[in-house]
């Protein structure tokens, strides 16, 4: 496409179906403690 460049693989919906194992880190255990930040956490599954 000439007018748009998609910079990621949109997989959020797919991850809703396959995700939810609950093994990933609670966000407040990383560095925030006062401001919730979830999108920067890592997925614990090696392959989604």
């Amino acid at each position: 496409m000439k007018h748009v460049k998609t910079i990621n693989h949109a997989n959020l919906k797919e991850s809703a179906v396959k995700g939810g194992c609950g093994e990933c880190q609670a966000s407040c255990q990383s560095a925030c403690k006062t401001s919730c930040t979830v999108a920067n956490q890592k997925c614990e599954r090696k392959q989604k």
Partner: protein
Amino acid sequence: MIHKYQLNGYYIVLDVNSGAVHLVDKLFYDLLDDVDEAHLTEHCPQQIVDKWSGCYPEADIRETYAEIVSLHQADQLFSVDDYDRFAKMMTPSPVKAMCLHIAHDCNLRCQYCFADTGEYMGHRQLMSFEVGKAAIDYLINHSQGRHNLELDFFGGEPLMNFDVVKQVVEYARAQEKPHNKLFRFTITTNGVLLDDDKIDFINREMSNVVLSIDGRREVNDRVRARVDGRGCYDTIMPKFQKLEKARRNGAFDQYYVRGTFTRYNKDFAEDVLHLNEMGFDQISVEPVVADPSAPYALTEEDLPEVFAEYERLANIMIERAGTEKEFNFFHFMIDLDQGPCAIKRLRGCGCGNEYVAVTPDGDVYPCHQFVGHDDWKMGNVFDQSLDQERKAQFAAATVYGKEECRHCWAKFYCSGGCNANSMQYRGDILKPHTLSCELEKKRVECAIMIKAALAEQA
């Protein structure tokens, strides 16, 4: 739902429900204002061509419109919101993360401390090993099938009770094999009491360590003072440097130097850069959350300056990417491809559901920020009690359980914000703290712009 914005010369379009991020040209950006999301026709409506033909060639308008339709058909633009069915499935989860208040006491008197300078509206108290041991048993018992368990030693200042920290770690490690669990320990410290022995233990046992310092000496010492009013920068900086250096060769490499910025230092990018100059490359500097009447509090009127500073910081990070001066800023960390799953994003921080805090008395609260608010007490580690009704209330506090969040473009990035801030400043865990929302949205925009810039450079 889409969100489009211009930043640093980039035209960026987020497709909220699919998570797609598009870098577009101005024509594409402009055309989106006139596209009817609900009735997207195959061919470009004549009124759109007529509207923009004075600015762009007609062929380009039609070509761009076709690209919009094509992305929509691929479910990457105006994608359907079908998350409600997942949100309705959110039930209470096993408890797998615990904030252990090993010391309700502190050797600093930071002005903005949410923990009442360590006392949490109670009295100064250190946790006994007996309570720590019962807390480990409690976590194992309530974790059901979860394998990875997280335990953060928190305070007050946890180094004031370090012998018990060591005992609790030793006890928990001994429980891993029999219960098929893996403990990940973290500790949050102001560094005043750090010595070689503690550095060695922390680097050996703690998968993450959070080192509290606000940045430049004058900024740090103005708000992070000792009991007698003296600043702590000169004491803690060399200790933090020593810990970080020793950590490079250890089993765990994760750490953050973590600061708070206030109305006193709205030029907080300078503090981030200072921390980097001092040798740290994992940096978190967060906005203070405080009553607006506090002299250091950030308010609505500070937002333009804070936003400009986030943009300045983002640009510096782009300039430094790939160089020796590259650093990581916690709130700009974002993985657009392999980040947390949508279920995690819907669920939010997990407090009161999969994450709890335990006081020196063994009382259980939804999280560290609820401690001291007696109405929110959820149980006690000695009788294994856990208020299931309260737990269900927090399990339901998903992005889709919060009316303002479900209609927000940033919902899958911030995941509903901090429930404790919502409770404290709006009286309801389902009503997000508006100022924090504005700051978070700006950070997400900057973080994605950085990704876009780096993608362009590549």
